[in-house]
Subunit: 152 residues, 2 copies
DNA sequence: TAATATTATGAAAAATTCATGCAGATTGAT
DNA sequence: ATCAATCTGCATGAATTTTTCATAATATTA
């Protein structure tokens, strides 16, 4: 496993927050030259610590004002039902994230809807009637905050 | 609300997947010139559709092989206890995401640990003894897949 | 300790990419 | 038909990313 020093952690923390800043600006903020900062970033990419750079969308600005987390317990637990379920879930466009988990639920979904009524009226039913689904539990997102994680 | 055409949606889909590609390369893939593609991206930023660009870390490569979702039900529901809880949660470095939700739980946390034993031994206790915490339910992440969402 | 790798650094330059100005094409309204 | 608005591609300057190179720390080994 790659060894990180304080500068590496500071770089990761800064870019997780905002990956649009240049290596020059970030380096200046940390007391590094532009190439030094850039090379550290490349090293972190090559080590696999950096998995990629992603655009963060504002779902509300896209007209999807509601985000809901769904905990799903399958009724039948065979491998076949897992595959059936995953394939069917993929066909629902409102599904943003599919998480296979261990615990009281088998899957967790992050879905978006235009509003609560839209979620209750169409999306909820659509999920409940997926193949193999037993229990479904919904949690509506009120606010979300990302933390730097163990790097800080 | 801003109107998106097929090209806008294609651009968003591509950049959510990989925000490191240049406007020139992406434009070429979509049959657009570099300035045309770049201007569309800027327009989406100004419309607020693009919330930002973030680095995506590989927690496993950082030595945190286990991700756990925690559903938390507070025992006392006053505003004071919410603030107390949030402040205390912020002090736990392993907490990656704090979500305030509506439903059977009041909060959902995404936390990382070196391994299951580490989670059970230290992190779980730490969360259960946060101020105001009633029930805690854990789900261990097995696999996670992001979908394009309603844009696709 | 001295010699030798190893690694990280900054300055400078090359290669890309970003960002803007401009002129032409398309669309829709008056 | 004319005008305004919007989008496009081309050309271009500004900024950033990568590479090259010489040097300074840091550790390894003799």
């Amino acid at each position: 496993m790659i060894a990180l020093d304080d500068l590496d952690r500071a770089i990761l923390r800064a870019l997780v927050e905002d990956a649009s800043q240049s290596a020059g600006a970030l380096g200046r903020a940390l007391g590094l030259s532009q190439p030094a900062c850039w090379r550290r970033i490349r090293r972190l990419e090559e080590a696999g610590v950096i998995a990629g750079r992603r655009l963060d969308l504002d779902q509300a600005a896209l007209g999807f004002g509601v985000t809901v987390f769904l905990g799903i317990k399958l009724a039948t637990r065979g491998r076949v039902s897992l595959e059936d379920f995953e394939r069917a879930v993929t066909a629902i466009p409102e599904v943003q994230v599919v998480q296979h988990v261990l615990g009281r639920f088998d899957y967790r979904l992050r879905v978006t809807a235009r509003d609560i009524a839209d979620f209750e009226r169409v999306l909820r039913r659509r999920v409940m009637t997926l193949p193999g689904v037993g229990q479904v539990e919904a949690n509506v997102l009120l606010s979300e905050e990302r933390r730097p994680g163990p790097l800080g």
